[in-house]
């Protein structure tokens, strides 16, 4: 029973100064901190842009002293697709939250839009698809001769995008946990907060990717 009642076995209405739940304030503080984390990673990437002594390079081809040829390594069309997938996951997240908030209200029951399980699963699946793209990207880079050890570009690129990928992974696990709770006992409007907090995190991770995609991939 203790585990089933999970996140809200105790719905005492605690007085809070702002009227907001503690967790809502904490997640914003956390996101503020995460901004500095990614700012440090992205700054390092930008500082090291163009400083690598050996290739492969992100945006131009390179011939090694021994005559081996390397292409410009970033594959912008493929990453544009994965970016689109991640953006769509944010849409699915919005719909998942709306479905939980509106569960039981007239007109929402029974429609696909009112099915929080569908949208939570869709968000997690789209997130996992993004991770699949990233795994494909990382493997193909390694095949083309770029590892985390190769040069400054490799070190800073894999660390930056790897940190982002780790954040997406945590998000997917979080979404799957919510999905499991939804299957076990059903998420109701009273649970909107825990979905909302997950959504804030998810949108944040999404926004960070937009910054990374622009600064790393699009700007040469």
């Amino acid at each position: 029973m203790a585990t089933a009642s999970a996140d809200h076995a105790h719905e005492h209405v605690h007085y809070t100064t702002t009227g907001l739940d503690h967790r809502k304030i904490a997640i914003w503080a956390f996101i503020g901190s995460e901004c500095m984390l990614f700012a440090s990673l992205i700054s390092t990437y930008l500082i090291y842009k163009g400083r690598s002594i050996v290739g492969p390079f992100p945006h131009e081809a390179w011939t090694s002293p021994s005559g081996q040829k390397f292409n410009a390594i970033l594959n912008i069309p493929v990453t544009s697709m994965s970016t689109f997938v991640l953006l769509m996951s944010s849409l699915a997240m919005v719909l998942a939250l709306a479905a939980v908030e509106n569960r039981g209200k007239p007109g929402y029951v029974g429609t696909a839009l009112g099915n929080s399980k569908l949208w939570l699963a869709a968000t997690a699946l789209l997130g996992a698809t993004f991770l699949g793209f990233q795994a494909f990207e990382f493997t193909s880079f390694v095949h083309e001769g770029l590892t985390i050890k190769t040069n400054l570009f490799g070190s800073s690129f894999f660390t930056l995008t790897g940190f982002h990928g780790a954040h997406v992974t945590v998000g997917v696990l979080w979404l799957l946990t919510l999905l499991a709770i939804d299957f076990k006992r059903g998420l109701t409007p009273k649970d909107a907060l825990i979905v909302d907090i997950c959504a804030l995190y998810w949108h944040f991770v999404d926004v960070v990717w937009i910054a990374i995609f622009t600064l790393v991939y699009l700007i040469k």
Partner: protein
């Protein structure tokens, strides 16, 4: 669902008021966690002090032979690391934990279990980084760990690994605590406690939490780069691969300078509680004190490169950081004058906490002035890496933070343990400390200006440094005696001191309205706050006549079950009062343990035991994730 928690609540109450080892291991009570922080941090303070004492013995005379050069490196690295991360920050955290909920009229922090987690991560991380010194494996690259010096090429062996991972672990503790306290202060203030009525200690702590939240990520990333360079062959600090030799310095000092304010602002807050109490006057210029605190925190993020004037950033950068640094002297000076104005024309009582508070005002000012001296880039290039800098930051951190924290301990000891500390021993402690501190650190200004570099393990005779070094070492002996007097006083007074009433000193803030030591639930009834000094409103209304008060209509906030401020005398248990208390739990402890095991496993990679390393790391990660899920899926109260 709501009723499920009701029945076991009472069981939780009894467990919470139990004594014995298990009750401390499983506690989630902010006061107990604060007490744990206090004892642990005082232990590390003594340990860091011992390291400093050995350093001073080595430097007492030219060509000293007390320790080897290699061990000396470990000593000064660990002295700095211990004092910053394991002593002063956690001593401040002890006060955050103990005082913030009491000062804002709350029954606990926002996330009691997260609070326990922060403590256990700190304790285990502290052990992780300290124990290696007994095996000659302690970190030896300075508390600032400059890369590329700390990369594997120049610092092989496990020493730096312990430092990198230990700091990562301690960072988790600080960040978790900061999220907790930000939420607590924003969201758990008693009715009527507006932001501009918060006690100054809570205000300064609030600012510090924002500094922690914003300053720790850059060092986390700097350490991640170093960890990756050392373990996975990345090239972030590999100069031969084109890396920037200043990358580490920038990332470190973007953290490192706000860290200075993380260390000093809590002490400023404590002093701002002590001075009004013993001057029988409200704090002078409350609003300006708040704004100058915010200004210090804000400017603190724009001055990091003044630690790097000697690296050749160019005249423009030097000039900008120079001016920004000088600007910080303004809000800091404002605070000093406001403290003086608080005492001005007050009924000053020279109790031990008051002596330490005045000590801070005097000594911090000296450290502040030498700080302004090396905010000037040309002067700083002469002073960089000399003992002049050592003198400066010890005036700020010992004369400032430590004096303030000692004042806080004497001031709040009656609240925490229900008994006063001995005034007689306290006076001895203060004067020995004051004289010893000045005798230790003032001569370093001279040895520094005569060119004595920092971090050297010995020096030759005939450079004019001998008498200053001998004076410093004699000063340290006084400090050792002073600390001994403090420890005796602390241990004796816990059981044998004069019993203290609720309001031990005639202070004006909420924490003094409840019994000493406070009951588990702090406030039987949440008080409605009418002004900045609610207890003086009740007991000495003439003292707060000039402050803004809210009208009687604000006294009815029904959902908080609030009552007017009064001296609380009820000794009922939480169960009798029907106050739900959080269950004790060890899940945060196991989550913390998982994190430490996860990092410790990586060490085996440098012993060429890859399989073992992965087994331990994955085992630790599993323990962390499992405990975390168990924690998050079990009810709080």
């Amino acid at each position: 669902m709501a009723t499920i928690a009701a029945s076991p609540t009472h069981a939780g109450n009894h467990a919470a008021s139990e004594t014995g080892l298990w009750s401390w291991i499983s506690t989630v009570d902010h006061k107990r966690i604060g007490t744990l922080y206090l004892f642990t941090a005082l232990f590390f303070f003594l340990f860091g002090g011992l390291e400093a004492f050995v350093i001073r013995l080595q430097l007492a005379q030219p060509n000293g032979h007390v320790v080897s050069a290699e061990f000396y490196n470990q000593l000064f690295t660990m002295h700095g690391t211990t004092m910053v991360f394991l002593a002063v920050m956690p001593l401040s955290a002890a006060f955050f934990n103990y005082l913030i909920p009491l000062q804002i009229g709350a029954r606990d922090v926002a996330f009691p279990r997260l609070n326990a987690f922060s403590y256990w991560v700190y304790l285990l991380g502290g052990i992780f980084i300290t124990v290696p010194i007994f095996f000659g494996l302690a970190p030896n690259g300075g508390w600032f760990g400059y890369a590329p010096l700390t990369t594997i090429q120049f610092s092989g062996g496990l020493n730096i690994d312990f430092w990198v991972m230990g700091l990562q672990i301690l960072g988790i503790s600080s960040l978790a605590a900061a999220f907790n306290f930000i939420t607590t202060i924003i969201n758990m203030r008693a009715p009527g406690m507006t932001l501009m009525r918060m006690p100054m200690f809570t205000w300064m702590s609030f600012i510090v939490q924002f500094l922690l939240v914003l300053a720790f990520p850059p060092i986390t990333i700097a350490l991640v780069f170093l960890l990756f360079d050392r373990f996975f062959g990345t090239q972030f600090y590999a100069i031969a691969a084109g890396a920037d030799p200043l990358l580490w310095q920038h990332l470190f000092w973007v953290f490192g300078h706000p860290e200075v304010y993380i260390l000093i602002l809590p002490a400023f807050g404590l002093v701002s509680e002590i001075l009004p109490t013993f001057s029988k006057k409200p704090l002078f210029g409350y609003h300006v004190m708040v704004y100058s605190g915010i200004m210090i925190g804000f400017l603190g993020f724009g001055v990091w490169a003044h630690h790097m004037f000697a690296v050749g950033m160019g005249a423009t950068a030097d000039a900008i950081f120079s001016m920004a640094t000088m600007l910080i002297a303004i809000p800091t000076g404002v605070k000093i004058f406001n403290w003086i104005a608080t005492m001005w024309a007050g009924e000053v009582r020279f109790t031990t906490p008051m002596k330490f508070a005045i000590g801070l005002v005097a000594l911090f000012t000296i450290g502040g002035i030498s700080g302004v001296m090396h905010s000037s880039a040309p002067a700083d290039t002469q002073q960089t890496d000399t003992y002049f800098i050592v003198a400066h930051f010890h005036y700020v951190l010992f004369g400032g933070s430590i004096m303030g924290i000692f004042g806080g301990i004497y001031h709040y000891f009656p609240k925490m343990f229900g008994r006063y500390m001995s005034e007689k021993l306290g006076t001895w402690h203060f004067w020995l400390n004051f004289v010893g501190m000045n005798l230790t650190f003032f001569p370093m200004h001279f040895s520094g200006l005569l060119g004595m570099p920092r971090r050297i393990y010995t020096y030759d005779a005939g450079q004019g440094w001998e008498k200053f070094n001998m004076a410093s070492t004699i000063g340290t002996v006084l400090l050792v005696i002073a600390t001994f007097v403090f420890v005796v006083n602390f241990l004796k007074s816990r059981k044998g001191g004069t019993p203290a009433p609720n309001d031990a000193w005639g202070a004006g803030t909420l924490e003094w309205s409840i019994p000493s030591p406070p009951p588990d639930y702090n406030f039987a009834e949440i008080p409605v706050v009418t002004s900045r000094y609610p207890l003086w409103d009740v007991k000495h209304p003439e003292m707060t006549a000039d402050l803004a008060h809210s009208g009687p209509d604000a006294m009815t906030i029904t959902d908080a079950h609030a009552t007017p401020v009064h001296e609380e005398t009820s000794r009922k248990t939480a169960a009798e009062l029907g106050i739900p208390m959080p269950f004790p739990t060890v899940k945060p402890l196991f989550t913390a343990l998982g994190i430490v095991i996860m990092f410790a496993g990586l060490l085996f990679m440098h012993l060429d035991k890859f399989a073992l390393a992965m087994t331990i790391t994955i085992g630790g990660a599993s323990l962390m994730v499992g405990s975390l899920y168990a924690w998050l899926t079990s009810p709080l109260e």
